[in-house]
Symmetry: C4
Subunit: 231 residues, 4 copies
């Protein structure tokens, strides 16, 4: 449990270092499905004074497991739903990074304009539909998780191939096998979002990356045929 | 008085650290209504050489209370009017932060495009009308304060719910219970302004946040039903 | 002479610290009209290895006065013409700062959109006409200086009131009584240019600052009636 | 060989310091045609833990020369083709820098809008055609090199005069006599790309730099008549 808390703590600290999070606007969690635990950042605690010990431990439904601890991030119910809906993932990250939020606010998917995108995300990064008034008023954070899972199910997207989503009017969630990978995906997502915005400013909107380049770049880094890195 | 000067000093120093202020373009003050004093940054003193002792102490009308001290910020009369018009506030901050100024210069309110905005500001951040020539030539800084208060009164905006304003053609003022909160609102405002500009660049102008999401996000952080943070 | 070299050296070093200059793309000089000398940065020397001693000393026509010294900045002839044309100035700075260059490249003056601009520049920052082929091929740097002086003369602009210019297709020159003031004007110019670009992106192009606000802001910081700062 | 590895290592480290590379998205190589060796960054190794010793040594066809070493950057075949096609160059650099990628994604050359561009690149920076599906599926990295060389040959561009290219939908490659020069060209390219994007935002698209200014600026820094720097 100590190592798990330490990983979650370090990943949370990396977010402001990468300028993806201002104030306390972000959170990272990790799940251990065998042990039946989730570890997540406490709610509203400043990064400067946060310690690894303060990471909050819950069961797989988000119920607190340690007495006397801090309150979990208010986004915990979203994380719980993502872990239930996406069975292969081991960590979830949420930020309000500037460029990803911009796209979330625009109600648009991020198109695949280049190989920087294709190296990490195997297709456009989807934007969810807006939640209904009822979904917002009843169990808002749960329904945020549900609309993400719904988006991937209905559009037939594999969450391992596109480990990121934009929640309409809100911001990005990303995930991965580990906290390090989940936040790396947040980092890449924001850069890809920035590049896409600027590409459109200079008239590049029609220049989508061909599918065969998307295939090439994604699969030279992922899967059985990958040949990038020392792996 | 020493603790008050220290808080005002620290809040002023935070502004360049957050890249909200260049050179000497900003000021923060705090009021103690029971003691009848306002403490504010001196005018035109570089941040690097400024000391807590140099903070200027005035009465509630802005008259200097300490002999031999420095001149107060030239924006002091604006702060005085805000304290008189908005009785619940304890601190005022003024910056020329890039993105908030951009909106001030555009003569537009900042629309609510997302939850990053809604978490802090319960509605569009208002832009004042332009001052008339007479208002500028007679008691410019006083009239800057008056047009802010007028904007909130005429449009029925609660200054505790939207603790920020854009002065047309000039820049932002923000406020809060404490100096720490007043400058935090300056920080959030600039980020929200940047996100709004970029959202419009990619065609998101029609995607305003629904009122029920604004309600949800604002009230999960503020008021009796709040459940964000450890509070 | 040592103090003059030190001031010029420190001002040159400040430019990369303020992110106004990449590599060796900038230069600052100072004139002492009574002693008949100009001190300027050497050409193409990296900032990291530069020393105050290496600053180059010339007469008022730009002829080297110290044997064995380094070559002066290739922009020296432009500085010389500016000192001859603008008799009240004591220092000239040249950068390729991103946002000021953007406006120089656009062939447009920077409009006065707000008080951040008005606090330093009493009117639009002018863009020169393009040089003719003959002017470029014969004494390019001299003619760059001449077209700046011509711009101010023909348009009746006081170089003390607007201490900055955009050379069409090239970049900004700024000036002041001292090197510290000349580079401060470079710093403000780049920020004002950035704010102007963003203001136009969100539709603020029609919202020019009224003349009476420009008057108010400029004269509360400059001239006999100034009341900003401790002066 | 040690000095060559050290130069390649230092140049690779400079890329994240200049904010041109995130994560492991970049690589620099150097060639010694007499010794018949290329030294290049290993694939996917984080900059923080990388050592000079880990630089990979190959022959002029990209075959590994040292047993037990790391795998070379997956972009090595592109570097090899560039060294074969451009016989005067001594180093190649590849980044995913934000603004250069933006132009690569837009399928447009970077126009010459100003002297900042002209000081380094003697004409528009070309964008390649898109690769065909067959070219991507068969020897992608080799064909990336070939389409760059083809672009320069077919358009009659001298790779010493314009030491940079945008690979359509991917990103920039730059080169030079040395690793220090190759990465400097990456640095200048990204700044020039940023300035070009912003110039177009404010309506400067028609204001191309005249050929005679391009000539003047390029040749005052390059070739027999150069007079910039201490050279």
């Amino acid at each position: 449990m100590h190592a798990m808390k330490e990983r979650v703590y370090q990943a949370n600290l990396q977010l402001p270092d990468w300028a993806l999070v201002k104030l306390t606007w972000g959170n990272v969690s990790e799940i251990n499905r065998e042990l039946g635990v989730i570890v997540i950042k406490p709610s509203g605690v400043p990064y400067e004074s946060m310690t690894a010990d303060q990471m909050v431990v819950t069961d797989l439904d988000g119920n607190l497991l340690e007495e006397g601890g801090l309150k979990a991030s208010s986004d915990l119910p979203t994380h719980v739903i993502l872990y239930k809906g996406f069975e292969s993932i081991g960590s979830v990250a949420h930020t309000h990074s500037t460029h990803a939020v911009t796209w979330a606010q625009s109600s648009r998917d991020i198109p695949v304009y280049g190989t920087t995108h294709a190296d990490t995300f195997y297709g456009p990064v989807p934007n969810t539909r807006q939640l209904s008034q009822k979904e917002v008023e009843d169990a808002y954070e749960v329904n945020t998780g549900k609309v993400i899972v719904e988006t991937f199910k209905e559009r037939g997207i594999d969450p391992d191939a596109i480990p990121a989503v934009l929640v309409n009017g809100h911001g990005p969630f990303t995930w991965g096998k580990t906290p390090a990978k989940a936040i790396e995906n947040s980092y890449v997502l924001d850069e890809v979002a920035d590049m896409a915005t600027q590409t459109e400013q200079i008239g590049g909107k029609e220049n989508k990356l061909p599918q065969f380049v998307l295939d090439k770049h994604y699969f030279r880094k992922h899967g059985a045929g990958a040949y990038y890195g020392q792996g």
